[in-house]
């Protein structure tokens, strides 16, 4: 087993373990902290996949902003018994187990055993330039930057603008919904 695979396994185990802690713990604040670990480990996975920019964005947004958001929400919606019973499960938990097991089994089957699945040979690490005006990006961040913003080369500017509108709407919506009643 080479280094990448070893690191992958370590990160993956911690990831799955903390995800189980998120859904398993009784104290919701502890769940939230386990969620932070999940986010961080996910960033580790991205690093292993040569997606450095995504990893950084993950840390910034998820482990940073979303976590704070969740913790603030937990603070504002304080319940009694926060130690023991703030994260209960409902009475159909067995149905949830069955359904998620089924869904999981289906996906796993499709991915591993199914004869229709095409497995690529190895990780490809070479790409070609688009054209003469779009030079080869030296690293992942520049590449993604070009893909998002470049006015001349092929870019995903339009989805980017739409995403910004979405964010605007979300901000306004959150403010309006979260207002105190007069």
């Amino acid at each position: 087993m080479d280094l990448a695979t070893l690191l992958f396994w370590i990160v993956a185990v911690i990831l799955v373990g903390s995800a189980l802690l998120v859904v398993g713990l009784n104290n919701i604040v502890h769940s939230a902290l386990a969620l932070v670990v999940v986010f961080a480990m996910a960033a580790g996975i991205y690093l292993l996949a040569n997606a450095e920019f995504i990893a950084i964005v993950q840390i910034l947004i998820y482990a940073g902003a979303v976590t704070i958001l969740i913790l603030f929400a937990l603070m504002l919606t304080r319940t009694v018994n926060i130690q023991t019973n703030s994260n209960p499960i409902n009475k159909y938990w067995w149905l949830g187990v069955i359904i998620s097991a089924l869904v999981g089994a289906t996906i796993l089957f499709a991915v591993t055993v199914s004869p229709h699945f095409v497995t690529p040979a190895s990780s490809a690490l070479g790409y070609s330039a688009h054209n003469s005006t779009c030079p080869l990006p030296p690293n992942n961040v520049v590449y993604i930057g070009n893909l998002l913003y470049s006015p001349t080369c092929y870019s995903y500017v339009l989805p980017f603008e739409i995403a910004s509108v979405v964010l605007l709407v979300a901000i306004i919506g959150a403010i309006v919904i979260g207002r105190e009643e007069e």
């Binding site: 998120v22 995504i54 499960i89 779009c134 919506g173 959150a174």
Partner: protein
């Protein structure tokens, strides 16, 4: 050797755990946490596809990662709005137990 299957299996497992959390938990914020886990699982899958992308052209090489960027964006926005709603409901009803949110029942 790291293969695509590693990422896909990991994504599947995480998705199922997130699904379980979203279905089974009674605290609204715990449900949201389950949803976040699901979204992260999807991101991992997409980034895995991007890693093993055999298409050479410039425009399609990092499709998975672009997808993941946008998912992160929208997930963040959704988390914000959802938590604002949870807080608003808590103000009205002093509970965040989803089994009590049955105003739309028959």
């Amino acid at each position: 050797m790291l293969t695509l299957n590693h990422f896909l299996v990991l994504g599947a497992v995480l998705f199922c755990i997130g699904l379980y959390g979203a279905i089974v938990k009674r605290n609204a914020i715990a449900v949201l946490m389950g949803i976040e886990i699901m979204l992260n699982a999807v991101n991992i899958t997409l980034v895995g596809f991007s890693l093993f992308n055999t298409a050479k052209p410039y425009s399609t090489y990092l499709t998975g990662q672009i997808f993941a960027i946008f998912i992160i964006t929208v997930a963040a926005a959704e988390a914000a709005v959802a938590l604002a709603m949870v807080i608003s409901i808590y103000r009205k009803r002093s509970t965040v137990d989803v089994t009590d949110f049955d105003m739309m029942k028959w």
